[in-house]
């Protein structure tokens, strides 16, 4: 029996109502509209192109992705610190981290950068126990490290750790470095350090004293 006009209309409405919903969770496919290749980097240097004199500034508008996450309960992970801080130069460091913070967190504090800095060879550890895990943290990026099996019995590779010191501006000639021997899988901590007048900077490096990346650290310092 053929459908009546109202029935046909109803079917049409239902089709357009439910078909999009049926595919709502499916993937969207974006086809490449043009196969393009960028020019060489040397052609993309600053000043290589003109924007017609237009301003290159932007004014992005902050937009929230949702309500702020809050919890009325106190953080059970946070714990109070104990112990006074002595004999440490208070400097302003990367993102506000101070020497005091370093002392409390790592058991040492990087000291004032300056001419008195010199490299000191750290003793090579000879009893690196096998530990296939480690974590490297450099300026906010986390990398999980694995210790190669070939290094179970000794530090077959000496990794150079740089202790960089420079005055502003930062000419390459002012940078110096020293090295230490580490074990693959050791934990590393680095910190960009500058003084309160922003006239001196230093890249501080610390290496774990064992293959336990959560254990104690030894700074490469004066």
């Amino acid at each position: 029996m053929p459908f009546s006009v109202p029935q046909r209309f109803l079917c049409l409405v239902l089709f357009f109502l439910y078909v999009p919903l049926a595919f709502a969770n499916g993937p969207d496919v974006i086809k490449a509209s043009r196969h393009d290749a960028s020019p060489p980097l040397w052609q993309m240097a600053i000043g290589a192109s003109s924007n017609g004199g237009r301003s290159d500034s932007q004014s992005p508008t902050a937009r929230a992705t949702g309500a702020m996450i809050t919890n009325p309960n106190s953080d059970p992970v946070a714990a109070p610190l104990a112990g006074p801080l002595t004999d440490v130069t208070l400097l302003s460091n990367f993102a506000g981290q101070s020497a005091q913070d370093n002392r409390n967190l790592f058991g040492f504090a990087f000291r004032t950068p300056g001419h008195q800095w010199r490299c000191r060879r750290e003793a090579v550890r000879t009893n690196g126990e096998r530990n296939p895990r480690g974590v490297r943290q450099i300026d906010g990026s986390v990398a999980a490290l694995a210790r190669p099996r070939s290094t179970r019995s000794g530090p077959v590779s000496a990794v150079s750790a740089s202790l960089v010191e420079a005055r502003r501006p930062l000419p390459m000639a002012a940078i110096r470095s020293c090295s230490t021997t580490t074990w693959p899988g050791d934990g590393w901590v680095t910190q960009l350090q500058y003084d309160t007048t922003f006239t001196q900077t230093a890249q501080c490096v610390a290496v774990s004293t064992s293959s336990d990346a959560t254990g104690s650290y030894k700074p490469l310092r004066v």
Partner: protein
């Protein structure tokens, strides 16, 4: 970076509203060979925001066919965990599954999103900066250790009146489909709660710990 694709996520703001995060996989093999490449994307609802795809570390690849993993903040006691399986030859086989909720210790954001963006104090005469506590921070590092697979990630939390950085290890072992478990989930950074300084975005010191039930 994943063996089968390059993964990218965005927060979608059509007009003035927020539509949710979108996860896309770009055809890596086609791109490396210079062929025309396509992208397969999954749009999520507004309850899902700021997804972070896993980034491969190490020389041991994930198991063959393993999906890419994605993590985002869910609420004050959970993380969202997603799996993104992409199939460029048969788009219909592509799947985006989740969220699986992973329980974590209670936390609060340190700065209100897009309302009080800048709440982290800086040394004089610096202006306050955004804590970016509304998302897990780059990167979600993945590594296949052979006997288990791990993901590590961190985010900024409110530690009393200040800020701290909390990290998590999400570990999978055994079969390919198992609910991941959080190992660790604590950070010495949170010890900064009683300090008169912020722990925001300073180098957190995550590490792989033994399982602590």
């Amino acid at each position: 970076m994943w063996p089968d694709a390059y993964y990218n996520t965005i927060n979608v703001f059509p007009g003035k509203g927020f539509a949710g995060a979108e996860a896309c996989a770009f055809d890596r093999n086609a791109m490396l060979s210079g062929a025309s490449a396509s992208a397969i994307c999954f749009q999520q609802p507004p309850t899902v925001f700021s997804l972070l795809p896993a980034d491969l570390d190490g020389s041991t690849l994930p198991p063959v066919g393993a999906p890419n993993y994605l993590v985002s903040l869910a609420d004050s006691t959970h993380l969202n965990f997603f799996r993104f399986h992409v199939d460029f030859s048969n788009v219909a086989n592509s799947t985006f599954t989740g969220p699986t909720l992973i329980s974590v210790a209670p936390y609060s954001e340190v700065c209100a999103r897009a309302i009080t963006l800048s709440c982290i104090a800086q040394p004089n005469p610096g202006e306050k900066v955004d804590g970016l506590g509304d998302r897990v921070m780059f990167r979600l590092a993945y590594r296949n250790f052979g006997d288990h697979e791990s993901l590590v990630v961190n985010h900024t939390i409110k530690a009393e009146t200040l800020a701290g950085v909390r990290w998590y290890e999400i570990r999978k072992s055994g079969g390919a489909v198992r609910l991941p478990a959080v190992h660790g989930g604590r950070s010495r950074r949170e010890l900064l709660a009683r300090q008169r300084r912020y722990g925001w975005n300073r180098q957190p010191r995550p590490g792989f710990q033994r399982f602590q039930p």
